[in-house]
């Protein structure tokens, strides 16, 4: 059982657009793909496809994406992943996130991977708290602060946020 995969998913139109024959063919191909897909008929089918549906909605990306979710006030929640690079060495480091009109950061998470391919959740927490690395965000930058050398850790930060 498979959910329809559109052959031409990245089509959008606004008023005054003139469609070419080629684009009309692409629309027909999309419709045919939907028509030929099997419709989930039971809980097992639906469960099998939850991951697919979720991935379609969120789609982790280094560019801004609308998650399809909304905050408590009705604002759209967007997501963006930033490759922060190496964590600082007993210092504060900042990397621009490039998000315009940032309003509320709903969730801030990510991971760090060291040279031994060991993965850690952000913020970095260790049994020896001297190695902990704080992570926070403001309107322009993502910051990491620590008091030890964590430069062997390559970091990715994902922001979920609303816009003003």
């Amino acid at each position: 059982m498979a959910i329809a995969v559109l052959p031409y998913p990245n089509m959008d139109f606004v008023p005054l657009d003139v469609l070419t024959a080629d684009e009309l063919d692409q629309l027909v191909a999309n419709i045919n793909a939907i028509n030929s897909a099997t419709i989930p008929t039971n809980i097992t089918d639906l469960t099998d496809n939850v991951g697919l549906i979720t991935n379609t909605n969120i789609g982790y990306s280094t560019s801004e994406k609308d998650t399809g979710l909304t905050w408590t006030d009705g604002s759209h929640i967007y997501a963006k992943t930033v490759h922060f690079g190496t964590a600082p060495n007993n210092a504060s480091k900042q990397v621009a996130h490039g998000i315009s009109n940032l309003d509320k950061v709903i969730k801030l998470d990510g991971f760090a991977v060291n040279t031994n391919n060991q993965y850690y959740a952000l913020p970095l927490m260790f049994a020896n708290s001297a190695y902990n690395t704080q992570v926070y965000v403001d309107a322009s930058y993502i910051y990491m602060i620590n008091t030890a050398d964590r430069s062997a850790y390559d970091c990715y930060v994902t922001l979920f946020y609303t816009k003003s």
Binding site: D12, F13, L16, D17, V18, K163
Partner: protein, 122 residues
């Protein structure tokens, strides 16, 4: 006195193309900037005079959010220029929330509202 023949007339005008004039519409399917190319010969209004385009035109469109309202700005122009996205971004910041609200109330699949902003000042 208006600096452009159509300035001040921002009512919904279906199917009447105006080059370089920024239009406000409900959010399109994709949030990011998308561009479409159309061959020459399209009818358009130039200050109320109907003419035909003499070269390819390009439609640029991008979604924005302001005042918790999501909307799309689009423009049709002769220009094929990467800086147009920056210009749309700047205009999105200038547009007032009340203008967005008003335009979205009348926005349908085929109906949009022209703003009084242009790609280039006349």
């Amino acid at each position: 006195m208006p600096s452009h023949p159509n300035e001040g007339n921002n009512e919904t005008m279906n199917n009447l193309l105006e080059l370089n004039r920024i239009a406000l519409w409900k959010p399109k399917l994709l949030d990011e900037l998308t561009m479409r190319e159309t061959g020459k010969g399209r009818p358009y209004s130039d200050g109320g005079v109907i003419k035909r385009t003499t070269a390819k035109t390009y439609r640029y469109a991008k979604n924005y959010e302001k005042g918790k309202q999501k909307f799309c700005l689009f423009v049709i122009t002769y220009k094929n220029d990467a800086s147009i996205e920056d210009k749309l971004d700047k205009i999105a910041k200038k547009i007032k929330v009340a203008e967005i609200t008003s335009a979205l109330e009348t926005s349908t699949d085929s109906s949009f509202t022209y703003t009084n902003y242009y790609l280039e000042e006349k």
